[in-house]
């Protein structure tokens, strides 16, 4: 795998998989009339507005000790959950994935017009979409690494699983977001919104955990809703 890669992910490759009905509170696929029309309209608009881009930087040979990852001159404080999952990694991939500036601008505009339902639905669609786009990239990385018999962990982001959001600054030191045009505020908020960033552990002795929702306390996460579908 190359040490630095960029990806532009065509929206058609993931938009059909967007599914927000459960997170809205409804049974899978059962959004009631006329909200279903709003949903369909927002999905169409999202398709037009999304420009998914990802950049990934691979660094070999991080040092894992005492819940810390020391890599490329930077020390990350990972906390127990993430540390356990990545500590056996031989390489670490840093990533930033964004949908671009148009979607957040549209969400804001809808909100300012008082179209809160539309804004809410578009927000959920975008949250799901950025993760689906990154899923595609992660699968591509998995394919690249398969020949070397290397596995990937789940991806983990500052701000989640008790990983301090301040570590976002360190992540951006390693991967400054030039290709994706993502910037970071002093309080570690990424711009544009609907951007995700984080790390993926790579190695022979790491594995992907299909469900790790129980370690997280977020009640509105799209992943946990997917888990709910699977369990149903």
């Amino acid at each position: 795998m190359k040490p630095y890669q960029t990806f532009e992910i065509p929206t058609q490759r993931f938009i059909d998989q967007v599914n927000i009905s459960t997170i809205m509170g409804f049974e899978d696929g059962a959004i009631p009339e006329p909200m279903d029309a709003v949903h369909d309209d927002m999905l169409k608009q999202a398709t037009q507005l999304m420009r998914a881009k990802t950049e990934v930087k691979l660094i070999h040979g991080g040092e894992f000790t005492d819940r810390q990852l020391m890599i490329d001159g930077v020390t990350f404080q990972l906390e127990q959950t993430i540390f356990q999952m990545v500590k056996k990694a031989s390489d670490v991939a840093f990533f930033i994935c964004t949908l671009g500036p148009q979607i957040p601008a549209k969400i804001k505009a809808l909100s300012e017009q008082g179209l809160h339902l539309e804004a809410y639905i578009l927000d959920l669609i975008a949250s799901d979409a950025v993760d689906l786009a990154m899923d595609l990239v992660q699968n591509q990385l998995k394919d690249q690494l398969a020949a070397e018999e290397l596995n990937l962990t789940n991806r983990y982001s500052p701000g989640y699983c008790d990983w301090n959001v301040q570590d976002q600054k360190k992540l951006f030191r390693i991967l400054p977001g030039h290709f994706t045009k993502v910037s970071l505020t002093e309080s570690c908020v990424m711009h544009p919104m609907k951007t995700i960033s984080g790390i993926i552990g790579i190695g022979k002795d790491v594995k992907f955990n299909p469900y790790n929702c129980e370690v997280c306390r977020r009640k509105d996460c799209v992943y946990s809703s997917r888990k709910m579908y699977s369990a149903a």
């Binding site: 989640y160 959001v165 505020t185 570690c188 977020r218 009640k219």
Partner: protein
């Protein structure tokens, strides 16, 4: 059903106006928009329309949301119906015929961009007769303090959806309490708990918007 009950019903079920297709079983019926105008035309005091129509409707939605009988989209439709009605009441807010219960300033804490929960709390509290000043997301302590200085007597509401921005909430609460010891602060968000509220010295924690509205109402009862 009298006119005020009909208005409350429209708010509860998110019926905005005659043309609104939602809810499907009220298609073709007048909504909060037309019925509020009708009530004003009939001479019903604006304050009664607010208290016995809009607030009643929003309270019912709040309770149903708490009980998982309705979800965010339905609450947003109710809020939209309430806004349609409130537009007609605006002149009465401006001339003092309707007194708001107080001012509520809310924001999502620094480092956190999640705003859906915060927005719903704001809508629900506005629907309970409060003036809501929404500072948005990623709100730093200084912005809360500036709002306190600007708006005076108010209650502050803070939201956090990330465990990792809870320390920012703690810092904001402690800084505000140090500077304004009497300032009431309520907090909420998925990872927040009653214990956390006690540890950081906030005044109230609610796990649902209606609880926040009920607490605020208790302050002015």
């Amino acid at each position: 059903m009298n006119l005020l009950e009909q208005i409350a019903n429209c708010i509860e079920f998110g019926k905005i106006n005659l043309n609104s297709p939602y809810p499907p079983n009220m298609k073709g019926q007048e909504g909060a928009d037309e019925l509020t105008l009708k009530a004003l035309d009939e001479g019903i005091p604006a304050n009664d329309i607010l208290k016995n129509g809009l607030v009643i409707g929003m309270e019912k939605v709040g309770v149903k949301f708490r009980e998982n009988k309705v979800f965010v989209p339905q609450v947003l439709m109710s809020a939209k119906a309430m806004n349609a009605a409130t537009l007609h009441l605006k002149p009465y807010f401006n001339d003092g015929s309707i007194q708001r219960k107080g001012k509520f300033i809310l924001g999502t804490v620094a480092g956190d961009l999640h705003d859906i929960g915060k927005n719903i709390v704001g809508m629900m509290i506005e629907g309970n007769g409060w003036e809501v000043i929404d500072l948005g997301t990623d709100v730093k302590t200084e912005q809360f303090e500036k709002a306190i200085q600007e708006y005076g007597d108010c209650v502050i509401g803070m939201s956090s959806l990330l465990t990792t921005t809870m320390p920012n909430m703690e810092a904001s609460v402690k800084a505000i309490k140090a500077r304004y010891p009497e300032q009431k602060i309520i907090i909420g968000g998925a990872p927040i708990t009653e214990d956390f509220k006690n540890n950081i010295g906030a005044d109230f924690y609610s796990e649902d918007p209606q609880g926040a509205a009920e607490y605020l109402n208790s302050l002015v009862a």
